[in-house]
Amino acid sequence: MHLAYPAVLSALLFCTGLYGVLARRNAILVLMSVELMLNAVNLNLVAFDVWLSRTAEETLHSGQALTLFTIAIAAAEIGIGLAIVLAVYRNRGTSDIDKLRDTAEGHEPEGADSDGDATAAEKAEATA
């Protein structure tokens, strides 16, 4: 198989993931998009490893080994990420990234958000 197919596929996957990260508002979907990007990288690693090992005298298949690492780390990362999203949702009643702006300059800590009562109600519901 020609190298161009997996490379183009991985580029498409990566761009899809990038679009997701930049454009989606739901934190879970953003995490899923990050997974897409990681997997695009994994695909690249495997493809190039195969491509390189064809010409090499002997090879350690380090690309494939690295892929295994990436998968493992990605699994851990998504676990932690989802846990954080869950905690945020329970705390705030939303996992909408646009609304998680606590680090903004001039941010008012509590109550200054637009939907104060609704948020408080959702929060109470979530913690219950």
Binding site: L18, V21, L22, A23, V30, I97, D98, L100, R101, D102, T103, A104, E105, H107
Partner: protein, 664 residues
């Protein structure tokens, strides 16, 4: 105990008394009075024993080197000759009298403990100066006296006069002390030692390379400390301190330190003819100018202050003609009678409730209220005016005799011009001295008008001291002039006939003319009412004096002057009176020459600091703040924006890297 041990104890005891007084002032107020009086009395006794043992013989010398300095050694050294022994007795006597007097004078003063401790410390420093055989150790005592003077002049620091006077006294004497220090270094470099004996040996051997320079530098310090023209202006203002302080520091001891220093190192000054002429000019200007100023002062203590300056002028005059025996003789007799004058003035101020002669001249029977002060002050004023047989006569005639001796060319010690200068100025001053002494006496005791207020008798401690000091003013002069030459250089101190007759004659003329002027003007007194008295006349003397000083300027318009047409000084001085009252505008000259340039420079520095330096400092703070504000605007809190920016940056970098790699 050996003489050396006793001599070491003399300055040490008041020092320990001062340290204990400062430590125990709050915790054990009952011990303060004994701690102030007893060490001083003990050191008086020890100084007397040292003087008897020394007896005018070979000088006692002892030295111990504390640590090697690497260059010219500094040693703890004693050098007790006849001068040192006798001056120490005078210091001990006056200091003891002042300490005893102060227990009555500052009876209810809340700051008495620190006051008494500072007086003790001052006494110790003066005794150190007197006994020290090493110029550096002498300088230590010299400077300690300066700082004690600063604190004691500012004792009534609630009044602005006292605050200003203490700062002025400190700064003006320091102005002299800086050249003095340089002069000491130059002297030690030339002589190879700070020891007085070695310095004198080097001078005798012609070992000084720059005698004129050294002598003039040292003279600056002497002029500052001994209140000689042109650095005398601090002394009249220093009268804002309590009267016992004026008596001790500003009449009998500290101001005498400069004269004593020159007397000790006279050969150094004699090595330079120019320095002797400068000394003579300084003395002549000082004594005539101060006597004129004394005739115009309204504050009784300022009259005495200017009189002190004048009498110190006599001493420097005697030194300028190379007769240190006469100088120290006058120092001793003047120390006694001037301390008496000040202490009696303190009693009068307390009794009258004012320090203004104009106000006193409108009080009847003031002399009946303070008979002890009246009689002792009469004695002291007669001594001041050099009327025989009081002590001032003999000492002043010895000065005039020495001047005449030089003027007629009998010695090679000093230039004849110096002799004439001192002689003429001395005789003129004798006339003026008698005039202002008479004026003081008449105005203070022979006032006419309402009865002086009666606050009961003065404290016993204050009156006894007056009589103790009256004895040397009355009697010592006549006895001493025969004995003293054995203690001093051996030069005769007997009054010569010519100067005695002329000197006493001009003094009598001065007194009689003033009396006539007073008879003429005193009728005016009733027509022009004047006077302001202290608000708390029944308080202790220190409180009355502080109030009198504070009220003089608001009541009469000036601290030194009162618009009193009944003042005989006004008639005698004529148009000169206005200038003499303000000390011949020397303060105004200094204000124009030094104070205003310094203030202008301070304004400039303040402008540079506030407007220029601080602008940079503020800029250093404000620029990062502004930059930080700009950068913080990018913090939207939206993670996706950050990632977009990251992506954009990455793309830019990649494009740049690709462009560089392909060489485009």
């Amino acid at each position: 105990m050996t003489t050396t041990t006793l001599a070491v104890l003399v300055p040490l005891l008041p020092f320990l008394g001062a340290a204990a007084g400062l430590l125990l002032g709050r915790t054990a107020p009952g011990f303060i009075r004994p701690l102030a009086v007893l060490p001083t009395l003990a050191s008086l006794v020890l100084a007397a024993i040292v003087a008897v043992r020394q007896g005018g013989d070979e000088a006692v010398n002892a030295a111990t080197e504390l640590t090697p300095t690497g260059s010219i050694p500094i040693e703890l050294a004693l050098h007790i000759d006849g001068f040192a022994a006798l001056v120490a007795v005078l210091v001990g006597l006056v200091a003891s009298c002042v300490q005893i007097y102060s227990t009555g004078y500052l009876r209810d003063d809340p700051r008495y403990p620190s006051y008494a401790a500072l007086v003790s410390l001052f006494t110790s420093a003066m005794l150190l100066v007197v006994y020290s055989g090493d110029l550096m150790v002498l300088l230590v005592g010299w400077e300690v006296m300066g700082i004690c003077s600063y604190f004691l002049v500012g004792h009534y620091w609630e009044t602005p006069e006292a605050r200003a006077a203490s700062i002025k006294a400190f700064l003006v004497t320091k102005l002299g002390d800086v050249p003095f220090l340089i002069g000491l270094f130059a002297l030690a470099t030339d002589a190879g030692s700070f020891r007085i004996t070695k310095v004198l040996d080097a001078v005798a051997g012609g070992g000084l390379d720059h005698p004129t320079l050294i002598a003039l530098l040292l003279l600056a310090g002497v002029a500052g400390k001994s209140a000689q023209f042109p650095l005398h202006t601090w002394l009249p203002d220093a009268m804002a301190g309590p009267t016992p302080v004026s008596a001790l520091i500003h009449a009998a001891t500290m101001v005498a330190a400069g004269v004593y220093f020159v007397a000790r190192l006279l050969p150094v000054f004699e090595a330079s003819q120019a320095a002797m002429v400068v000394l003579a000019v300084m003395a002549a200007v000082t004594m005539t100018g101060s006597a004129l100023a004394a005739l115009a002062q309204d504050d009784i203590k300022r009259v005495l202050a200017y009189s002190t300056i004048g009498q110190l002028g006599y001493m420097t005059g005697a030194l300028a003609v190379g007769d240190r025996g006469a100088a120290v003789f006058h120092l001793l007799s003047h120390g006694a009678f001037k301390a008496l004058l000040f202490l009696a003035a303190g009693v009068i101020i307390h009794a009258a409730g004012t320090n203004s002669l104009a106000a006193m001249s409108r009080m009847g029977h003031l002399r009946d209220r303070v008979p002890d002060a009246y009689w002792t002050m009469t004695v002291a004023l007669l001594a001041l005016a050099a009327i025989p047989p009081f002590s001032g006569f003999f000492s002043k005639e010895s000065v005039l005799g020495a001047a005449e001796h030089v003027a007629t060319g009998h010695t090679e010690h000093a230039p004849g011009a110096a002799g004439w200068l001192v002689l003429v100025a001395g005789l003129l001053t004798a006339l003026l001295t008698a005039a202002y002494a008479t004026r003081l006496w008449l105005l203070a005791f022979y006032g006419q008008g309402a009865e002086a207020p009666d606050h009961g008798r003065q404290p016993l401690t204050m009156n006894v001291v007056l009589w103790v000091l009256a004895v040397p003013s009355l009697a010592v002069g006549g006895l001493a002039y025969r004995v003293l030459p054995d203690w001093f250089d051996g030069r005769d101190l007997t009054p010569t006939l010519t100067t005695s007759v002329v000197g006493t004659g001009v003094a009598l003329v001065g007194g009689i003319v003033t009396y006539a002027a007073w008879r003429h003007t005193t009728a005016l007194a009733a027509r022009v009412p004047l006077g302001a008295v202290a608000a708390h006349p029944e308080g202790d003397a220190a409180l009355v004096e502080a109030e009198a000083i504070a009220s003089h300027e608001p009541a009469y318009g000036d601290i030194a002057y009162a618009p009193d047409p009944a003042d005989p000084g006004r008639l005698l001085l004529g148009p000169l009176h206005r200038h003499a009252a303000v000390g011949f505008h020397l303060d105004a000259v200094y204000s124009a020459l030094f104070v205003r340039p310094v203030q202008a420079a301070a304004t400039l520095v303040r402008f540079l600091d506030r407007e220029v330096v601080e602008t940079y400092v503020r800029g250093a703070g404000a620029t990062p703040r502004a930059l930080g504000w700009a950068v913080r605007r990018a913090q939207t809190g939206n993670v996706q924006t950050y990632v977009s920016a990251l992506l954009a940056g990455t793309v830019v970098l990649v494009v740049a890297a690709v462009l560089v790699a392909t060489g485009a």
